[in-house]
């Protein structure tokens, strides 16, 4: 851990630096590849929609021990109830002491007959969930409305907070990226999509943007000196910001993922397939993607958009010109560096302000 910490120090100082912004084409490429794979999965496999989207009845029968024998017993009991709609039930264990049986849509009376049949076949307790065919669809539709409203509000919020529409765009692209990757994982793996999955996806909205905002805040702070300071380009400052918040990003991802993974494992082991597992799985995938995208996608994209800005382009050109000159002339380089250092205190930018008080307090202390 100590090593990780001084690693953080080196990142902060810029002694170790990962080129997140400069190599953006690589990251874009990776992401595009993943997104293409995701899209292929939608096209080829589609989603494995849970019973909430198909409609039907789900019985959860509590039994002494859930194994293949009890599954067979209970399946036979359902078949033996002579209700045609309940033919070919899908049965699976759910945890160590419960069996889940799903049938096609039934009426309430039919469902009660099945419940009784299950109890007669040895189930200690039967829970029943009768789901209308449009339930899941309604949940998804509501979720979509929520998504649109949320995106609109957040675009405006980020725009106002950072006073930069490019950051809004980059954040939303990163968000779409996370949602698509999560959806892709679901399509590829064939995990069931339930309303709990939809909840998980909606939560990712919050988390993904939350994470992006933290990184952007550092970018904003680092680039405050531009265009006054000519030592670094916008892209370099943005990249430094990502590097400086890298340790935070990793720590946050770990602390956010730990409880979610606990939820996933406990949900799967204790309860088997159910809302906890669905929710936790969507969250785990989405949070991982969210952390990735705020580092590799959101900031490089925001930086790229910003570089198209005329004033930033001019600034970058000047920085590079000065650098080229200093490379060709050693003594000029020192002069320029000194000039840059001299210029700092009189700059009226945030960056300068930030450094000034420290000098004052130091001299004040020395004096005293």
């Amino acid at each position: 851990m100590g090593r990780f910490s001084s690693f953080g120090h080196h990142l902060y100082e810029g002694r170790i630096s990962f080129d997140f912004v400069g190599r953006r084409k690589v990251w874009y490429g990776i992401s595009i590849a993943i997104l293409v794979l995701s899209s292929l999965a939608f096209a080829a496999r589609g989603f494995n929609m849970g019973i909430e989207f198909r409609g039907g009845v789900e019985f959860t029968a509590k039994v002494a021990t859930a194994d293949q024998t009890t599954i067979d017993d209970l399946t036979a009991a359902v078949e033996g109830a002579h209700i045609p709609e309940a033919g070919d039930p899908i049965a699976s264990t759910s945890g160590s002491d419960a069996v889940r049986v799903q049938t096609k849509p039934l009426t309430q009376d039919q469902a009660e007959t099945i419940q009784k049949a299950l109890t007669d076949a040895g189930a200690i307790e039967v829970s029943q969930n009768l789901i209308g065919p449009s339930w899941g669809e309604q949940v998804a539709k509501k979720a979509l409305t929520g998504l649109i409203v949320f995106v609109l509000i957040v675009v405006v919020f980020i725009w106002i907070y950072f006073r930069e529409w490019r950051m809004s765009v980059a954040a939303i692209v990163a968000l779409a990226h996370d949602l698509l990757i999560t959806a892709g994982v679901y399509a590829w793996s064939g995990f069931e999509v339930t309303p709990a999955t939809v909840t998980g996806l909606l939560t990712i909205l919050g988390y993904s943007l939350y994470d992006t905002v933290v990184v952007f805040d550092k970018v904003k702070e680092n680039t405050r000196a531009i265009p006054g300071s000519l030592t670094h380009t916008y892209a370099e400052e943005a990249n430094l910001a990502v590097n400086q918040t890298l340790v935070r990003s990793i720590n946050t991802a770990v602390t956010a993922l730990l409880p979610v993974v606990a939820l996933l494992i406990v949900g799967t082991v204790v309860l088997g397939t159910g809302p906890l597992k669905d929710l936790a799985l969507a969250l785990a995938v989405g949070m991982a993607a969210g952390t990735y995208s705020s580092i590799f996608i959101a900031t490089p994209l925001a930086s790229q958009l910003k570089e198209h800005d005329a004033s930033i382009r001019e600034h970058t050109r000047r920085v590079l010109t000065i650098r080229a000159k200093s490379a060709s002339n050693g003594s000029a380089s020192a002069e320029l560096a000194a000039a840059a250092a001299r210029r700092r205190p009189v700059l009226s930018t945030g960056s300068a302000k930030r450094r000034q008080p420290r000098r004052d307090s130091r001299s004040a202390r020395r004096g005293g």
Partner: protein
């Protein structure tokens, strides 16, 4: 910049802020104690959160509304909610809770009981019909012969009633049921058998209301049993119905107006019936019945021949009952059509294991975060643990308080929301700590770094939490079903996070920075020079001006 001034102010009195915060927390719990004490004995303890149906067992019925004109207004929804609430109560279920969600859903929650079978009763769109009163003034039966009723019911059901004209239906009232064609004699006597065996209750009257069949039913308020004709006017023919105060008779009335074919039928019915209303001896022959859901809502006399479809129903109405009747007439009882979205019956044992799983996941998740914080932040990890603990205590108190005040229930997704929030809450502390470390690396002494780091972290935390809270709020507004519990938990903890980090974590770190252990960067404090990667000075000393940094990522 305002930041240095504020931070300087806060720096002076971290102890006071901390004290105020702790007093607030104690006050919160004091409020709970007071609330608990003021409760009736025998009521559920306030210290146990209200558990959702998925955690304690029970029935949840979700109905989705749609409207013929595609316009589901919140007004109509709340009317429908009230009506469904009445119906649920009428089935004898005591603790049911009926709420509207997500704009077009009505959710009925019945804790502890398996009551999925009431779904048809409460969810169907009630039918409002106008029928002739073929025989009225009968009394509720003392004893019932079920076999005779079953046989008679079959006879009535097998008879084809659709050939009767409206004039024949009216004649059967004014001239008696014997006036019906001879072929109906057997069915008429069967109706009489049913009527003599009919018991009137005001809870869940079990009658099958078929539009083109006669109906034996009663008016629950008066207990009067009646034999009613097949429908003469459907409720859908009512154009409008409003309550009004009639100043002449100084009583409340309901004005109704018919449209289309209803207008003609109403004219014929009132034309034929109104002459009988003039004398007390025959006034029973002037009545028609307004039937809702198989129950007689009102059986007024027809006092005038109404040709324009506009009439007034009078009776002993209060302003409220007049309004209720007007609403029922207008909307055919339910202003919206409902379809069953889901009926879930959760057994108590299975529900219990869901609760256990949620709690286990919470404990495991929290422990993992604690271990990680200690491993990475060492001494500062204690601040994270303390802050999470305080946030947990506040969250628990809020869940209890909201449960008592607003009936907030804790569901499995709600618990999941709280667990997920652990990570997001911990992140605020991480952002803060990383900023402190950055400031130390920049050359500040630890005590200065805490204040400067806070000034920067504060904005980041606020902005990031604002996004998180927005997400939770929108999720709550648009979500339906159990998703709302999740969104609520997430939103609540985001707010608590802000409060805790401002009023607890920050002052605590300020105080810690004054101690020798943290302030001088003890090896285990998480702030030692080696850990931070700074060389050649202690953390309580001012460092040299940072060397110009080298930056990667040259484009």
């Amino acid at each position: 910049m305002a930041a240095p001034r504020t931070s300087a102010g806060a720096k002076l009195r971290p102890g006071r802020t901390l004290g105020i915060f702790l007093v607030l927390v104690v006050a919160l719990y004091g409020l709970l104690v007071a609330l608990d004490a003021s409760r009736d004995t025998g009521a559920d303890s306030l210290w146990k959160p209200h558990l959702g149906l998925d955690l304690q067992g029970g029935t949840r019925i979700t109905l989705a509304a749609s409207s013929s004109d595609g316009n589901v207004t919140s007004d109509k929804m709340s009317q429908a909610r009230d009506i469904i609430d009445q119906r649920v109560n009428a089935t004898g279920v005591a603790e049911a809770e009926v709420t509207t969600q997500g704009g077009n859903q009505v959710v009925i929650e019945i804790p502890g009981e398996k009551k999925g079978n009431i779904v048809d009763e409460v969810g169907r769109t009630a039918q409002m019909r106008f029928r002739m009163v073929w025989a009225g003034g009968l009394t509720s039966a003392a004893s019932v012969d079920p076999d005779a009723v079953a046989a008679a019911t079959r006879t009535v059901a097998d008879q084809d009633w659709s050939d009767l004209t409206i004039d024949q239906l009216i004649a059967a009232e004014t001239e008696g049921m014997a006036a019906l064609p001879a072929g109906y004699a057997k069915a008429v006597s069967a109706l009489q058998t049913i009527a003599t065996n009919f018991r009137c209750t005001d809870e869940g009257l079990e009658v099958k209301d078929v539009s083109d069949h006669p109906l034996v039913t009663c008016e629950p308020d008066t207990g009067e049993v009646m034999i009613l004709s097949p429908t003469v006017i459907e409720g859908s023919q009512i154009d409008s119905a409003t309550q009004a105060f009639d100043s002449q008779s100084s009583q409340w009335v309901v004005e109704i107006s018919m449209k289309g074919s209803g207008k003609d039928a109403f004219e014929r019915v009132t034309g034929a019936l109104s002459p009988f209303a003039t004398s007390a001896a025959t006034e029973m022959k002037s009545r028609f019945a307004i039937v809702l859901d198989g129950e007689v809502l009102s059986a007024p006399r027809s006092e005038a021949h109404i040709t324009n479809g506009e009439s007034v129903i009078s009776g002993n109405f209060t302003p409220t009952s007049a309004k209720a009747l007007a609403n029922q007439l207008r909307y055919g009882a339910l202003p919206l059509t409902f379809s069953v979205n889901g009926v879930s019956e959760e057994g108590p044992t299975l529900a219990g294991s869901q609760l256990d799983a949620g709690l286990i996941a919470g404990v495991v998740g929290l422990s993992l975060v604690v271990v990680y914080s200690l491993a990475y932040y060492r001494g500062l990890g204690i601040v994270i643990i303390g802050s999470l603990g305080v946030a947990g205590a506040v969250a628990y108190a809020m869940v209890l308080l909201l449960g008592a005040a607003l009936g907030f229930t804790l569901t499995l997704p709600g618990i999941a929301g709280l667990i997920v929030a652990i990570g997001i809450t911990a992140d605020s502390f991480i952002v803060f700590f990383e900023r402190i470390r950055d400031e130390v690396r920049d050359g500040k002494s630890l005590r200065l770094a805490v204040e400067a780091g806070w000034a920067r972290a504060r904005n980041t935390i606020l902005a990031a939490d604002a996004v998180s809270f927005l997400a939770a709020m929108i999720l709550y507004i648009f979500a339906i079903g159990v998703v709302r519990g999740f969104a609520f938990a997430l939103g609540l903890t985001t707010l608590i996070d802000i409060i805790v980090v401002f009023l607890f974590t920050k002052p605590l770190v300020s105080l810690f920075a004054r101690t020798t252990f943290f302030g001088q960067g003890h090896k285990w404090s998480g702030l030692d020079p080696a850990h931070l990667g700074i060389e050649g000075r202690k953390v309580d000393e001012i460092g040299p001006v940072r060397a110009p940094r080298t930056v990667g990522g040259q484009a």
